[in-house]
């Protein structure tokens, strides 16, 4: 191929990052003695322009045909140096990196030992470099369409951006309406603009955009393929309401025998609904849905003489025979915007959530203060168990009492190792301040107290808002309450004011728990579908925490919104726009490079046992009959477009016939040999 190897070794100082621990000069002298090494150099920053120029020059002038760069992790700069080789007309796969920074100079203090280890690492890299082969960087066409999973604000924003750019977008939303958590909110911090006012126009846009196909009450069931060519299968669940006919009038809902008996998820259980329902008045699409678990007719087969909703619907939209529909389509890219759950406050039993009626989560409280919420925006004392009865009696409702004192507890389920969440949820400080402000506004004279660990008011306008709330008379006590108990009709919050080291027992009518954001409980479904990784907080893992925050490890799959980690609305929107932009790059160029380090079968020695076929997670290998010198024999063959280059097949092959390019036995065994020598 490229004849006898002529290897150049380039040892990077990385300023003092490497040179501070590793004796770079000594390493270079050593590298010069290695077989097939014709030049070894060092430079302060190999990744810089002059550093790369050294390599380019040597390739052009000395005729190097293999390059070893001893510097940082290949996960950092392998793409950089591959481009360097490419620029010098050398196949980029003739590069081997020796990681002497992350895995050497940064982790060892002893300069002698680190230098010795750096030599071994370089020796192994040279051993492999001697056997490197040129690989074809193949391209595949990219379907100019995108699947977006989740239609909260992040999914909506990404969908609108991509659709506006002229690409087809499929939006799949699990619940009956788009909008996500943002639709549940009343005001947004720190500007106090009405959440619905800014969100609902976008919700309507996403439903009406000519380039967007919206599938609500739907779930992605299967995803196969690879960047540019994903095959998607979506289950559109039956609403038992004909979407074409439903006018959204609501006659069905008010007639439902279950009306007001079922806790409304959208209202976080503070409000009630029937078995046929619209989650909230501004829901998009404004089409009713029958919840089949709670519908008497669907669950028990009987609903009085005949189902009332059906009778009530003048449009004839209610149809109990409707079935789930499977929709299949192809996309080039995927954006995951599946959002979050709020922390389950029951996991902090000391706060007695679920025990006392007036211990609420912030999201429940949010629904209560929302003008379109179950209490019409009034802050009232809750009597959770009694509601049904009252409605049933149909008696004149007595006006519920407003709480005279509301206490907030921050960091419930955040920054708390005892529940396994070490991270800060980033929104609670500010939404607590916002809710405190709303209490002050809606319940004049109310005593509002906030227990906090630290207040993190880091965003634009945050500190100013925090100041404003304090000026309004909201009291902040630094302390993490240890217990909530009831004394008479008051709730007592037991805590210590850690600023004055005073133990205190604080009384309140209502306690609001500022619960944090946690990964969705159904995250696993998406992980299994898309093979996403999770970071230690169990949110989806981005490809790089700094430089590839919207990408995933899998090409063509991007992240947007809180599914990647807690963030507020502007951050979620910004990331959504970023993800949209990232997804549009391959779609706009129409082509994308695919994995080059794929597997290859030596059909002359393959015995057709099919072990490789069995282990391949991508069904990229198949057995087929070939003619071997006149004999029909079975051999394995790799579909390179499907192969992701994991190499499991190579390890499974007993005859050594399946090999992974760039990781062939022929390349790894000399590496082992080089490392074995002390």
């Amino acid at each position: 191929m490229n004849g006898k190897p002529k290897i150049g070794v380039y040892v990077c100082h990385c300023g003092t990052n490497i040179a501070g621990t590793v004796d770079v000069e000594d390493v270079v002298r050593f590298a010069q003695t290695l077989p097939d090494v014709v030049v070894a150099r060092n430079y302060s920053y190999m990744c810089s322009d002059p550093g790369q120029a050294l390599i380019t020059d040597d390739i052009e002038k000395i005729g190097l045909n293999r390059v070893v760069v001893a510097s940082c992790s290949p996960r950092m700069h392998e793409p950089t140096f591959r481009k360097t080789l490419n620029g010098a007309q050398l196949n980029p796969y003739f590069l081997e990196m020796a990681n002497i920074r992350e895995q050497c100079s940064w982790v060892h203090e002893d300069s002698v030992a680190a230098t010795e280890k750096a030599k071994r690492i370089i020796e192994a890299a040279v051993a492999k470099a001697r056997r490197l082969e040129a690989l074809d960087q193949k391209e595949v066409d990219v379907e100019p369409s995108c699947l977006i999973i989740g239609a909260g604000i992040a999914g909506i924003q990404a969908a609108l951006d991509i659709a506006d750019a002229g690409f087809k977008v499929y939006v799949v939303e699990k619940s009956p309406t788009v909008g996500g958590h943002m639709a549940q909110l009343d005001k947004t911090f720190p500007t106090l603009d009405c959440s619905a006012c800014i969100l609902t126009p976008k919700m309507v846009d996403v439903a009406n955009h000519p380039n967007i196909e919206l599938m609500t009450y739907s779930q992605v069931e299967e995803i196969s393929g690879y960047i540019g060519n994903f095959d998607i299968k979506v289950r559109v669940k039956s609403r038992f309401v004909d979407m074409e006919k439903c006018t959204g009038c609501g006659d069905c809902a008010s007639s439902c025998r279950q009306a007001g008996r079922i806790s409304n998820e959208f209202d976080e259980g503070v409000g009630m609904r029937g078995a046929i329902y619209l989650p909230f008045p501004q829901a998009v699409p404004a089409k009713y849905t029958i919840d089949k678990e709670n519908c008497l007719f669907l669950a028990k087969g009987k609903c009085g003489e005949s189902p009332k909703c059906k009778d009530a619907c003048q449009a004839g939209a209610v149809n109990f025979d409707l079935e789930d529909k499977m929709v299949e389509f192809k996309v080039g890219t995927i954006i995951v915007a599946t959002g979050f759950d709020v922390f389950d406050a029951r996991l902090k039993p000391e706060y007695a959530y679920g025990v006392y009626d007036n211990v609420l989560t912030a999201l429940e409280f949010e629904r209560m203060v929302n003008a379109s919420g179950p209490t019409g925006g009034k802050i009232v004392m809750l009597e959770r168990g009694k509601k049904k009865k009252k409605k049933k009696e149909g008696a004149e409702e007595e006006q519920p009492r407003m709480p005279g004192s509301v206490t907030f507890i921050q960091c419930v389920g955040s920054r708390d190792k005892s529940v396994g969440n070490e991270y800060c949820s980033r929104v609670c400080c500010m939404y607590t301040a916002k809710l405190a402000h709303l209490v002050k506004e809606k319940v004049p004279g109310a005593d509002v107290t906030i227990f906090y660990m630290d207040v993190r008011a880091f965003g634009k306008g945050f500190e100013e808002f925090y100041d404003r709330v304090r000026r309004e008379g909201v009291r902040y006590i630094r302390g993490n309450p240890s217990e909530i108990y009831k004394k008479g009709d008051k709730l007592v919050v037991k805590a210590e004011d850690t600023l004055t080291s005073t133990p205190l027992e604080h009384e309140a009518d209502m306690v609001v728990l500022s619960v944090g954001l946690v990964p969705r409980s159904d995250n696993r479904e998406i992980i299994d579908l898309l093979k996403l990784s999770q970071s230690s907080d169990l949110f989806y893992l981005e490809a790089h925490p700094k430089l590839r925050p919207v990408d995933t490890a899998s090409d063509g799959i991007y992240l947007a919104g809180v599914c990647q980690g807690p963030k507020d609305i502007p951050d979620a929107v910004a990331q959504a726009k970023g993800a949209a932009s990232a997804a549009m790059i391959p779609m706009a160029s129409g082509k994308v490079k695919v994995e080059a380090q794929t597997s290859i079968v030596d059909e002359a020695t393959c015995r057709g046992c099919g072990f490789c076929v069995q282990v391949c997670p991508y069904t990229a290998i198949e057995l087929l009959e070939v003619n071997r010198m006149g004999w029909p024999v079975q051999v394995a063959r790799v579909n390179e477009a499907l192969c992701k280059g994991c190499g499991a097949c190579a390890a499974a092959c007993l005859s050594g016939s399946v090999q992974q390019r760039s990781f062939k036995d022929l390349q790894l065994l000399p590496q082992i040999q080089a490392l074995g020598v002390k």
């Binding site: 003695t33 290695l34 077989p35 080089a674």
Partner: protein
């Protein structure tokens, strides 16, 4: 000079004396008898039939380094066989000694192989006559040897009951006899005669045989004969018959190179029964199946070798028959050759 004898009581002492040389003797490893360098006379196991692996490995090791090369050093470092020192193989069977003499013809033919010949020169062979045939498949008389055969040996020991009769056959043998002067005694006058009688009796106990006359001349004419297909059908293509053969001497030469470029050139036993034996770099193999390989094994021993060196390259030790996993029997094949 009188013929000597070695009392069995003094065998330990004699071996101790010989251990100032590199002393190789039959020894047990689990149930297997092998020739190995022994430090302690107790290790020697002289009351044996025959060893599994013939002692040819002493003069023709299964793997040997010919020379070494180092990066940065233009000089090759050659193997100095001399350093292995004077060697005594004690207690080998006459057939195995004769095999060394037969193989020596090749190693000193058009090119003097320094490794083999130097080792032969340094090695004294002390044989042990086969009073009883070691195996039911022995047939040494048919191929020019005998249970008391002297060819190739420097000394021959014959088990006379309480003592071994010691006959020195060469100058090397005499020298060794002198080394053992204090352990050896003069043998009785009639012992040599008695041993001759024992030899005839021993030969009579050998029950397998083949008439070899005409075989070397006949074999080339049977090149395409069906018999090869039949006799090789069961062959597994393993190396037992050739590796365990005292006259098989094919070798391969390979360089074993470390990653940094230092290395050694090695010579190692090869077997014509292996599929890669005659495999060309092109992928072509002139002996593509077990049929051609079996034909080659027999022809080499019974035709090519005698036509060049006037001696059949088989000493009738019977190892290939005893240990063939599928009972391929060289005498059975030769009979088919005769009948063909």
């Amino acid at each position: 000079m009188a013929v000597k004898k070695l009392s069995k009581e003094k065998i330990g002492e004699a071996l101790k004396e010989l251990s100032k040389f590199r002393l190789i003797a039959p020894a047990r490893s689990d149930e297997v008898v092998i020739f190995k360098e022994i430090a302690d006379p107790e290790e020697a196991y002289l009351d044996y039939g025959n060893s599994t692996v013939p002692p040819k490995k002493v003069v023709f090791p299964q793997t040997e380094t010919l020379f070494r090369f180092m990066v940065g050093n233009p000089e090759l470092e050659e193997k100095n066989v001399e350093e292995e020192g004077t060697t005594v193989i004690f207690g080998l069977r006459p057939c195995d000694a004769r095999a060394m003499a037969i193989v020596e013809k090749l190693f000193s033919w058009d090119y003097d192989d320094p490794y083999f010949l130097k080792r032969r020169e340094l090695t004294t062979l002390v044989g042990m006559a086969c009073v009883e045939p070691p195996s039911v498949n022995c047939f040494c008389p048919s191929v020019g040897g005998g249970p008391f055969g002297k060819e190739g040996l420097d000394l021959l020991l014959t088990d006379m009951g309480d003592y071994y009769l010691v006959q020195s056959l060469t100058d090397k043998g005499k020298k060794l006899e002198e080394t053992l002067a204090s352990q050896l005694e003069d043998a009785a006058g009639g012992d040599e005669k008695k041993a001759e009688g024992m030899a005839a009796e021993a030969e009579g106990k050998i029950r397998r045989s083949i008439k070899t006359e005409g075989i070397p001349e006949k074999l080339p004419g049977l090149w395409e004969n069906d018999l090869w297909k039949k006799v090789s059908a069961a062959c597994l293509g393993c190396g037992i018959c050739t590796f365990l053969c005292p006259t098989c001497h094919c070798f391969d030469i390979q360089d074993e190179v470390e990653e940094l470029g230092d290395g050694r050139r090695c010579r190692m036993w090869d077997s014509c029964m292996f599929s890669e034996y005659s495999l060309h770099a092109s992928g072509h193999n002139p002996r593509p199946t077990r049929r051609e390989r079996t034909r080659n094994r027999i022809s080499h021993k019974y035709s090519y070798y005698p036509s060049r060196f006037d001696v059949i390259a088989c000493v009738g030790c019977g190892r290939c028959i005893n240990l063939c996993p599928v009972n391929i029997d060289i005498l059975d094949i030769l009979e088919q050759v005769v009948d063909a």
